[in-house]
């Protein structure tokens, strides 16, 4: 207990500097600014804004990225409530009752409850990270190469099983991602792999180019395609009068927020869990235990409060596996790993031991960032509303220019811009063929780490593959992976899962 307080105190002393507070504020603002744009979810937002953090010191960069992430999350909710255009799947649920409330002239109350719910959930989840982090990292420090390999395999498969869509196609995307991750000079032998004599490729394909192409560019392409059937201009933005929720609103929302927080905190830790699953589960639960379920979909405030708390708690909790094990539980966390690597930090349990200031500073900044979101975003909601009225045909070229300059500035290399274009085309192709690109990114980021651990494990065991099943932790993780795979392949479960995602 005492250690927890002293750790948090260290964290606040790092986060509470003028520089880091500014980075946190800029991150939360920029994240909201981009995240509020219709059709751009947190993943695309983080991918687009990554380059601006790279010139910052490590703690500032990660604090800003975290701010961008939950800012984008919150911006997405604003768009769903006011415009009924969910930026990404975790806000789909918010749009159901949030937009219904906005149509009844209660947009302000919906926005305020979303902010309050998110803030509460964020506070709880932040303390959760501080409590669960150290023991988990302690366990992970005993991991050898074999355990790490199995853990990454478990993380990859888990992320696929819990996400929506066809499992076999997602597994194929992981394998393709792993393969792309191997491009570049082989660390051990120095041989160039798939480099085709292009010097820029010897360091591998830049992960920002992959992420920005697959998620940024491809998303804009599909948005434009969809926009052809929608009338131009966004006149349907709902007006916001008065932000204060009534006493009755607060009273009805109390328990849903609490339940959402609990659901989100647990699901966020699971690989692949994250915000989407959390908000869906919370909505389903609230609807099921409500006295009058027919109110849902017609502006029930519980349908905003619960899911919003759940998705913020999950977003926060997904930092737990990242910070303690070095394993991304969703694609946004995979981008965080990439950002850490660029800053010269190897994600994993040693971060907490070797750089406690960075670790605890980041956790403290999450809490500060959540507070900032509440105090800044509610008064600023008028600006976001104006932004929603800017026609898309002005927005997308501007976004594209910022992306291109950002990509170029990473290595001052035009080739990186070309790779973004290539991955944009690939991303569009995947959309057209019904493949989710997110697992590809996970595989791409984890590929080099998995290979390194696989090689090391086999070197230690003198080429004996049994090492993975002879070590108990590794065996346990492999069994868990097999069980997960078996579960989704069994027909009866598969049917239930499809129904769950239909809902």
């Amino acid at each position: 207990m005492f250690e927890l307080i002293s750790n948090l105190a260290l964290g606040f002393s790092v986060a509470w500097t003028l520089n880091n507070l500014t980075f946190c504020l800029i991150g939360a603002l920029l994240g909201t600014l981009i995240g509020v744009l219709p059709g751009i979810g947190p993943l695309a937002t983080v991918a687009m804004l990554l380059p601006i953090t790279f010139s910052l010191p490590a703690d500032g960069a990660l604090i800003m990225l975290a701010g961008i992430y939950y800012g984008a999350q919150y911006g997405g909710s604003t768009t769903s409530i006011l415009l009924n255009v969910p930026g990404e799947s975790s806000s789909v649920v918010t749009a159901l009752d949030g937009h219904a409330m906005a149509r009844q002239g209660r947009a302000g109350a919906a926005l305020a409850i979303a902010a309050i719910g998110s803030f509460f959930a964020g506070c709880v989840a932040t303390v959760g990270i501080a409590v669960v982090g150290p023991p988990l990292a302690g366990i992970a420090q005993q991991f050898g190469a074999a355990e790490y390999f199995s853990l990454m395999l478990f993380g990859l498969i888990g992320a696929v099983v819990l996400a929506s869509g066809s499992v076999i196609k997602a597994v194929a995307m992981i394998v393709l991602g792993l393969l792309l991750g191997l491009v570049g000079q082989d660390v051990t032998s120095g041989a160039g792999r798939f480099t085709f004599g292009i010097p820029e490729l010897s360091d591998g394909i830049g992960f920002v180019a992959v992420a920005m192409g697959l998620f940024g560019l491809a998303e804009i392409m599909t948005n434009l395609e969809r926009a052809r059937s929608v009338p131009e201009g966004q006149e349907t933005v709902m007006p916001v009068h008065g932000l204060m929720p009534t006493k009755a609103d607060l009273k009805t929302s109390r328990w849903p927020i609490l339940r959402g927080t609990v659901i989100g905190s647990f699901l966020g830790i699971l690989p692949g869990g994250g915000a989407v699953l959390a908000s869906f589960s919370s909505y389903t639960l609230e609807k099921r235990i409500a006295k009058d379920p027919t109110r849902f979909g017609n502006g029930a405030i519980e349908g905003v409060a619960g899911p919003e708390a759940a998705n913020n708690a999950a977003a926060q909790a997904s930092f737990i596996p990242l910070l303690t094990l070095g394993i991304p539980s969703n694609p946004v966390m995979a981008l965080m790993i990439g950002a850490m690597t660029i800053q010269g930090i190897t994600p994993g349990p040693q971060v907490m031991v070797k750089q406690p200031a960075l670790f605890w500073g980041m956790i403290a900044s999450m809490w500060i960032g959540n507070l900032m979101l509440v105090i800044i975003n509610l008064p600023l909601v008028g600006i976001w509303v104006q932004l929603l009225k800017v026609p898309y045909r002005f927005l997308f070229p501007a976004i594209i220019i910022f992306c291109a300059i950002g990509i170029y500035s990473l290595n001052n290399s035009p080739v990186d811009v070309l790779f973004t274009a290539l991955f944009g085309v690939l991303g569009y192709l995947f959309v057209k063929l019904g493949f989710e690109p997110a697992p590809l990114l996970l595989g791409f980021i984890l590929g080099p780490m998995m290979e390194e651990n696989l090689r090391r494990a086999l070197q230690i065991s003198r080429g004996n593959l049994m090492t993975f099943v002879e070590r108990p932790i590794s065996l346990g993780l492999l069994i868990a992976t097999a069980v997960l795979l078996a579960i989704v392949i069994l027909p009866s479960v598969r049917k239930g899962r499809e129904e769950a995602f239909q809902e």
Binding site: I52, S55, I168, K169, V171, A172, V175, L176, L179, L182, D186, T188, S189, A191, R193, F194, F196, L217, I220, M221, L224, E225, A227, R228, Y392, R393, F394, F396, P397, A398, I400, I401, F402, A404, I405, Y408, S409, N412, P414, V415, V417, L418, T420, A421, G424, V425, Y428, L429, K432, L433, G434, F435, L454, R455, L458, Q459, R462, G463, N464, L465
Partner: protein, 150 residues
């Protein structure tokens, strides 16, 4: 007569098999090594087989499980945005930031139907000014603003 029941899966599976075959070809001159000391070609080869196998299953599913047909492609956004990026990459260092931005915006704007040239040009000017202030003056990126005729 065999009926294709899921065009997306068939096409997707074939696409993955093609990538696997191509990657296998390019990995063929990398040394494999053995399990105890893997060469640079070991994992790529294993992954290519796996990818090809998964591609095959996905393609075969195209004959057994009903699914969506191939959708038409929106060529306009695809071409305009890709061309915009290529233009930006090739112009930036030779012609400077302003020319690259204006050209990229002009080409990318064609992604949306009915381009309005005046407002597009205006957007190009605004973005040039903003980017010059933000990226060159404030962030100090080593970019040139105007073409270098020297």
């Amino acid at each position: 007569m065999i009926k294709i029941r899921n065009q997306q899966d068939l096409a997707g599976g074939l696409f993955l098999m093609g990538i696997a075959a191509l990657a296998m070809y390019f990995a063929s001159d990398l040394s494999m090594g053995r399990l105890v000391r893997m060469g640079p070609g070991y994992l790529p080869t294993v992954l290519c087989w796996l990818l090809g196998f998964l591609g095959l299953i996905i393609a075969l599913r195209g004959f057994t499980i009903d699914g969506p047909a191939l959708q038409s492609w929106a060529w306009r956004p695809l071409f305009a945005l890709t061309a915009g990026q290529i233009l930006f990459a090739s112009l930036l260092e030779r012609a400077g930031l302003v020319a690259a931005i204006v050209a990229t915006i002009a080409v990318s704007s064609m992604a949306a139907p009915n381009v309005r040239w005046v407002s597009t040009l205006l957007l190009g000017v605004v973005m040039s000014v903003l980017s010059t202030i933000l990226f060159i003056w404030l962030l100090g990126l080593p970019l040139t603003i105007w073409p270098n005729f020297g």
